[in-house]
């Protein structure tokens, strides 16, 4: 028996509870990805129920189908081009009037079957709002189902209704549309007739809807019509302009504004008939919460507290599982080391793959907690308040209030920060935020500052590190302004934002939210880091047969033999001293060999080749190599410095001593710290940039931007400092 396939799309305003219903319908069987070509989250779920194969698509939340933001274009295109069998419009019952705007637009589209789900009826009841569903269904000629998403009420009935509607082959009825005033209705009808008389082959849309959209001067529809002719004009467009001009003259305003007004007029009429509001004023809890949370005096302190708590949770609580993972990776590394015979492959496995991927996977607890906190902010409705509080400050940089959270997260790790820019609606704001977020010095850069500042500015190390962070913030602001006036020009995105009522978040949706994003981190970053680790390992372990400056092996055996005879000739306490001396001499030699090996590896050659680039900023070839490895992950920089300067990976004291006895000056150390602060983010972050902006271009812009700022600033500090007389 053939199973029938239907596609059901969920549409609705943001905060209408769409995602909750989607989660209830599909459970865990959902796929999250991006809509092709744009970075708007795409959610799909396949279910088998009542003998049908159903594909449920969660469209991005939108207020209308006017192409104002990417979300709206995505939703509209999906409905117009993919033609789902049924569109379910999820309506927030407690916010009926505004929700009906999208609903009437969906009806006007006239291309698929529509059902209304009056969601959150309990909330509406609590606010004294009663909706007569039968009347609404009659007036708009649409099936209406009541649901309470977070209690999973009515969701099954909704699904059954959707299948029933999809099965019925009745054409969607042509009556019960928005009634426009006479002049507009006339123009629509006449343009519609004109379009039909043109006999256009494969007219992409319904002729009435096309007429309405052309009178509204809809850019996307105009473009689509022009595609048909491949010329600059089309008789239909010219005709539409005639009507537009006539209506503009008549109303002394743009037709689209008048038509929007009239749609709302039509909605007001419906509301009058279907809604009864009890006059008794009830306590509005959400409003009372907001009196405190966005209070003139308390708003900011509370906001700062929440942010502090988020960081504390992420980094303090996250430290425990991080330790476990760390020891797990160490255990794996030692047991693989013990299990396999010495070979190139083992070296790749242990020092390349396990070490490289292990250094990233260790951030998983941080990322999980961070995303849980963000999901909590979003699902309760606090995120909108944070944007409301911060907008004035962020606007000074040319950004949106919502950019604050991603930028703040940048202090933790750029990867989740870049992913968090998804909450921004405007693409320009999103790209700008992504470009300046790397200047929020990420936590992986901190160990480098600690080593350098601790070594060269011991007493003032704290102040120096703080100034480094501050410099990053200042440069984020400055370069942000510069980008705003060069690459990303244009009017600021308007700050028209709904402040949805506070809601108790659902555990299930929090977990789904958190896991979706973390999964993305693991999948994509894992792949990139794996490749990066292999590349770095290859560069630093080849060529294999190095011609050393001395024969270390024979030298070591010579020293061993020499001590052997002396130990044999000495007594107990003396021999112990001699044994220690022998061991340290051997390990010195081993370190020297290791350093020489790195120096003569491809990595060392590259480091020496690029020394001319780094010497003007006071960094020698060893520093250059360490900075290069920082491209894979900033965590590696300190251990590379350790190997090159002290021949030792882990011991920071030894590194500190070695740095002091090398020819590095405090000024050069400062220049290096500044370079580390600004220079290109790690591959994982670059990969995140590429994915979130959907173009390699912005990833390259980010690399060029950060690295050139880094070099220039380090140059100014090093050369300027030398001129002033510091060293």
């Amino acid at each position: 028996m053939d199973q029938k396939n239907f596609t059901i799309a969920l549409a609705g305003n943001p905060n209408s509870g769409k995602t909750t219903i989607f989660n209830n319908l599909t459970g865990t069987r959902q796929k999250v990805g991006n809509w092709p070509g744009v970075t708007v989250e795409k959610k799909e779920g396949h279910i088998h129920k009542y003998g049908y194969d159903l594909k449920i698509v969660d469209l991005p939340g939108t207020y209308s189908l006017t192409p104002f933001s990417i979300e709206e274009i995505v939703s509209r295109n999906f409905i117009l081009e993919e033609r789902p069998d049924v569109v379910i419009d999820i309506i927030d019952s407690s916010n009926l009037e505004r929700s009906l705007y999208l609903a009437t637009q969906l009806r006007e589209l006239d291309c698929c079957k529509v059902i209304f789900a009056l969601n959150m009826r309990d909330l509406a009841h609590a606010r004294g709002i009663k909706i007569n569903a039968r009347k609404l269904s009659e007036l708009l000629d649409v099936p209406v189902v009541f649901t309470v998403g977070n209690k999973n009420e009515g969701v099954d009935a909704l699904l059954k209704k959707a299948i029933e509607v999809a099965e019925s082959d009745s054409e969607s009825p042509k009556k019960r549309k928005v009634k426009y005033s006479k002049d507009i209705a006339d123009s629509i009808l006449r343009l519609q007739n004109f379009i039909e008389n043109q006999q256009i082959e494969n007219l992409p849309y319904d002729s009435r809807w096309l007429a309405i959209k052309l009178i509204e001067d809809d850019e996307l529809v105009k473009k689509r019509i022009l595609q048909q002719t491949e010329s600059k004009t089309h008789p239909v467009l010219d005709e539409a302009q005639v009507y537009r001009r006539r209506l503009t003259a008549l109303f002394d305003d743009d037709p689209e504004i008048i038509m929007t007004d009239e749609r709302y007029g039509f909605i007001a009429g419906i509301i009058k008939e279907v809604v009864t509001t009890s006059t008794k004023q009830r306590v509005d809890i959400s409003r009372n919460i907001d009196l405190v949370l966005t209070n003139r005096f308390l708003g900011f302190p509370i906001f700062i507290f929440f942010i502090w708590a988020m960081f504390q949770l992420t980094f303090t609580l996250g430290a425990y599982p991080m330790d476990w993972i760390d020891s797990g990776v160490a255990w794996l590394s030692t047991s693989v080391d013990a299990m396999l015979p010495s070979s190139l492959f083992k070296d790749l496995l242990v020092n390349g793959i396990i070490a490289g991927v292990g250094s990233i996977i260790i951030f998983l607890p941080n990322i999980l907690i961070l995303f849980l906190c963000i999901a909590l902010f979003e699902d309760t409705g606090y995120m909108a308040r944070a944007a409301f509080l911060m907008d004035k400050i962020m606007h000074l940089i040319g950004l949106h209030g919502k950019s604050f959270i991603p930028m703040l997260m940048g202090f933790g790790c750029s990867v989740p920060a870049i992913m968090a820019t998804r909450t921004l609606e405007s693409e320009k704001d999103r790209i700008l935020t992504i470009l300046i977020t790397p200047f929020m010095s990420c936590s992986a850069r901190l160990p480098i500052y600690i080593v350098l500042a601790g070594t060269f500015f011991s007493a003032k190390a704290g102040t120096v590190i703080f100034s480094i962070y501050l410099t990053g913030i200042i440069f984020a602001v400055i370069t942000g302004r510069i980008f705003r006036s060069t690459l990303l020009t244009g009017a600021d995105a308007p700050f028209v934002m709904e402040l949805p009522p506070y809601r108790v978040p659902m555990v299930k949706s929090l977990l789904i939210h958190m896991w979706d994003r973390s999964k993305m981190f693991l999948k994509k970053m894992g792949g990139v880091i794996l490749i990066g680790s292999i590349v770095i390992w290859t560069l630093s372990s080849f060529p294999q047969n190095i011609r050393y400056s001395m024969d270390y092996d024979s030298e070591i055996s010579r020293i061993k033999a020499e001590f052997e005879t002396r130990i044999a000739a000495s007594n107990g306490s003396e021999s112990r001293v001699l044994e220690e001396k022998r061991d340290s001499a051997v390990s010195e030699l081993l370190k020297a060999q290791k350093a020489e090996k790195t120096e003569k590896s491809f990595m060392g050659h590259i480091g020496k080749a690029i020394t001319p680039v780094f010497s003007p900023i006071g960094i020698d070839w060893r520093g250059s190599v360490a900075l290069l490895t920082g491209f894979v992950a900033k965590e590696i920089v300190v251990s590379t410095l350790g190997v090159l300067y002290a021949g030792e990976k882990e011991d920071e004291d030894a590194l500190s001593k070695a740095l002091l006895s090398s020819n590095m000056t405090p000024l050069a150390a400062l220049a290096m710290m500044v370079f580390v602060l600004f220079y290109m983010p790690c591959i994982a972050a670059i990969a995140a940039i590429k994915r979130e902006t959907n173009s390699i271009k912005w990833a390259l812009v980010s690399i060029a931007h950060t690295t050139s700022v880094a070099w220039f600033m380090a140059f100014v500090i090093y050369q300027g400092g030398k001129i002033i007389g510091f060293n």
Binding site: Y63, T66, D254, I257, T260, F388, I393, H395, F495, E498
Partner: protein, 75 residues
């Protein structure tokens, strides 16, 4: 008068929404139609943006945008 001159707790009626066409259209689509009632819930701690109640829901606008909106019958 202009919406940005309204004080916290005042109610007014929208006369006209101005500004460039995309923003204007968005505001009208969000329910700021002429004739509808608008209530100023509060100003943000830094005096910008403004929180408004329209058609029973809360929306925030920047003062810049509120400068484009003329209101009437303010009380």
């Amino acid at each position: 008068m202009l919406l940005k001159d309204m004080k916290k707790g005042q109610t007014g009626q929208i006369v006209r929404v101005g500004g460039h066409s995309a923003l204007r259209r968005r505001l009208v689509e969000m329910g700021l139609t002429s004739g509808s009632e608008i209530y100023v819930e509060k100003y943000a701690p830094l005096k910008d943006p403004i929180e408004l109640i329209i058609k029973g829901y809360h929306i925030s606008l920047r003062v810049d945008e509120a400068t484009q909106i003329t209101v009437d019958n303010v009380r």
